[in-house]
C-alpha cells in the first residue's frame, strides 16, 4: 500500500485530502458518514471575530457543473470556535485548521491573537479571498501589498503553520503568492471561489439575494489546476490545491500540477462520502501505477520534469 502521509511545512497529515472551509461546517454533520479523523485535516467554516449572521437567502444557485454561494461567512465567532468546536473536533481525533476572515487588518490581528491561546489547533488558514463580505476579502486578496500586510499581521501571533488562501479573482496570482511568501506564509492554499452570477429568466432577477456569489465545483477545476501549476513554479512553498475536486482522478491531477495536498469543497455537498472515496482512489491509483508514496507524483506535470 502506497504511503499517503504528507508533511507541509511541519503540518504532518496521515493523508493529503482535506475538507475545504465552508463545505464541512465544524465537522459534526459528517460524523454520521465517517469519523472526523478520516480527512487529512478539516478546514473549519470561516471564522470572524464576532458571530456573523451571513447574507439573506437565496444563498445558493446551481450553475453548469458547479454552484454559486453567497453564504456571507455565517459563523458563531472565534470565541465559540475555541470554546466548543475546536475541543470537540480534537476529541474526535481530527486535525483542525481554523479559517480566518476579517474586514480590516485589526480584525485579522484580533482573531489571530485570540487563536494563539487555543490549544490543539493544527494550522491557521487566512481567507484573503472571500468575495462575499463588504470591504473585506476581495480587497485584501487582489492586491499584493495588502495581501502581504495581512500575512504579516497574522504571522505575528501565529504559533502553528500559516496557510494563506489565495483568490483566483486576480490577473496574476503568482504576484500575490510571492508577496505573501515574502511575509512568512508557510503554506499556500488555492483556489477560493470565482466571482460569478446566475439570473432567473422567470423573475428577471439575479438568483442570489446578494446578486453575485462565489463559483465552485467541477466548472472551476481547469482554472484551479492552471493556478496551482503556475504558483508551484513561482514560490517554494507547499500548496494545498482545491477547486472542483470530486474524484480521485481530479485530485491526482492537482498533485501532478504541483500540489502537496488537496481539499474537497463542493464535492462534500453533493456526495457525503466524497473524501473517503478520494482517499481510497488515490491509494489504489498509486499502487496500480507503482508509486510508493503520494510525494512521488508531486509536480510531475511541471516543466522540467
Amino acid at each position: 500500500m502506497a504511503d499517503l502521509k504528507v508533511n507541509l511545512a511541519g503540518l504532518a497529515l496521515d493523508n493529503p485530502v482535506m475538507a475545504a472551509s465552508g463545505t464541512y461546517g465544524f465537522g459534526r454533520e459528517f460524523l454520521k458518514f465517517y469519523p472526523s479523523s478520516l480527512p487529512g485535516a478539516i478546514m473549519a467554516k470561516g471564522l470572524t471575530v464576532e458571530p456573523t449572521a451571513g447574507n439573506p437567502t437565496p444563498r445558493i444557485a446551481e450553475t453548469p457543473a458547479g454552484m454559486l454561494n453567497s453564504i456571507g461567512l455565517q459563523n458563531p465567532g472565534v470565541d465559540a470556535f475555541i470554546a466548543e468546536e475546536l475541543p470537540w473536533l480534537k476529541s474526535q481525533g481530527a486535525r483542525v485548521i481554523a479559517n480566518i476572515n476579517g474586514h480590516s487588518l485589526k480584525d485579522f490581528e484580533e482573531i489571530s491573537r485570540r487563536l494563539s491561546a487555543a490549544t490543539g489547533l493544527d494550522a491557521i488558514e487566512v481567507n484573503i479571498s472571500c468575495p462575499n463580505v463588504d470591504n473585506g476579502g476581495m480587497f485584501f486578496g487582489t492586491d499584493p501589498a495588502l495581501a502581504a500586510q495581512v500575512t504579516k499581521v497574522v504571522k505575528k501571533h501565529c504559533r502553528v503553520p500559516l496557510i494563506i488562501k489565495l483568490s483566483p479573482n486576480v490577473t496574476d496570482i503568482t504576484a500575490i503568492a510571492k508577496a505573501v511568501a515574502a511575509e512568512g506564509a508557510d503554506i499556500l492554499s488555492l483556489i477560493n471561489t470565482l466571482l460569478g452570477m446566475a439570473i432567473d429568466r422567470k423573475t428577471r432577477r439575479p438568483v442570489l439575494a446578494r446578486q453575485v456569489g462565489g463559483l465552485s465545483g467541477p466548472a472551476v477545476k481547469p482554472v484551479a489546476l492552471r493556478m496551482v501549476w503556475q504558483v508551484a513554479q513561482t514560490v517554494d512553498l507547499p500548496i494545498i490545491g482545491m477547486g472542483g475536486i470530486v474524484s480521485a482522478e481530479d485530485a491526482i491531477e492537482f498533485f501532478l500540477a504541483g500540489a502537496a495536498a488537496v481539499a474537497v469543497g463542493s464535492g462534500n455537498l453533493t456526495n457525503p462520502y466524497c473524501i473517503p472515496e478520494i482517499v481510497a482512489g488515490i491509494s489504489q491509483w498509486l499502487d496500480q501505477e507503482g508509486y510508493v508514496s503520494i510525494n512521488d507524483i508531486r509536480g510531475l506535470a511541471l516543466p522540467g520534469h
Binding site: T23, Y24, G25, E29, T57, S266, L269, T270, P272
Partner: protein, 291 residues
Amino acid sequence: MNHDSSTVNHSRQQAEGSLVKKALLTRNQEIAKGIYEMELVEPDLAAAARPGQFVMLSISKGLEPFLRRPFGIAGIEPQKGSIRLIYQLAGRGTKQMAAWEAGRPVELLGPLGNGFAWENGPGRAVLAGGGMGIAPLLPLAKALRSLNKEVTVFLGARSLDLVFGIKELGQAGCQVQLATEDGSAGAAGFVTLPLEAYLQKNAGSSAGNSSSAQLQGLYACGPTPFLKAVSGLCDRYSITAQLSLEERMGCGLGACMGCTVQIKDSAGKIKQQRVCYEGPVFKAEEVVFHG
C-alpha cells in the same frame, strides 16, 4: 424543532446510520397538470421516514445537474417498503425526473430534517397546503387520522387542473376544503379566506362548536407569502402552528449554511437555523418572515 414532552418526537436521530439510499423506482406518473407522483421502494427509508421529512434526490451520476434536489416525503408505506414523492415540473432536474421509467435505480439521501410533531390521542387538527405544499401534508393527515383525530385540510391551488390529493385525503376520512385562485373549483380566491372563516368559528374553547374535540393545532406548507399569511392568522386566533419551510439547498445535510432562516426564541433572541437540519418544520411563532 423543539418538541414538548407531551408530543411525539420524530427526530432525525432515529434515522441516522446510512442516509445514502439506493431506491427502486416503481411508479412515475402525471397526476395533475405538470405534477407527477413517484413511488420509490427502499424498506429502510420507508421504515424510518416521518411526515414532514424530506429527501435529497440525485438526478444524475455525472456532474450535471450538479446539486441534489430536495423533495418532501408525500407518502410513507412501511408495509410496502415504499415512499412517494409528488413533484412539479420546475426546471431541468424535475424535467429529467418526469422521464424516468419504472425499474430505474434512484440514489437519494434521506430521510432528512425533523418532521411534524403532534399530541397522541384524539383531538382536532387543521392542515393548510398551498400549491405543492400539500404534498408533505398527505402522510401527516393519515398519521393524524390513524390516531382518530378530526382532520380538516385546506387546499389552495391556482386552478383545478393543479389540484391533487383530494381523493386520498377523503379516503383517509379528512374534511377537505378547496379554494382555487381562478375560481375553477371550490371557493374562489386564496385558501386563507376559508381558513380564516374556519379559525374564527373554531378557535378557542370547543364550547359552542359544531365539533366536540379541541382544536390542537395547525400545520401548513406552501410558498412563503402563504406561510406568512397563515402565521398571521394563527397569531390572531391564538392557535399554535407548525410551518414547513423551503429554501434553496446546497447539501441538505447542515454543512453549507445555504438554507438559513431566522428563528426567534421565546426571549425574542434571533438565531440562524438551517431549514435542512433544524427544520424544515418550525413553530410558526418562532419564524421571522422578511419583506
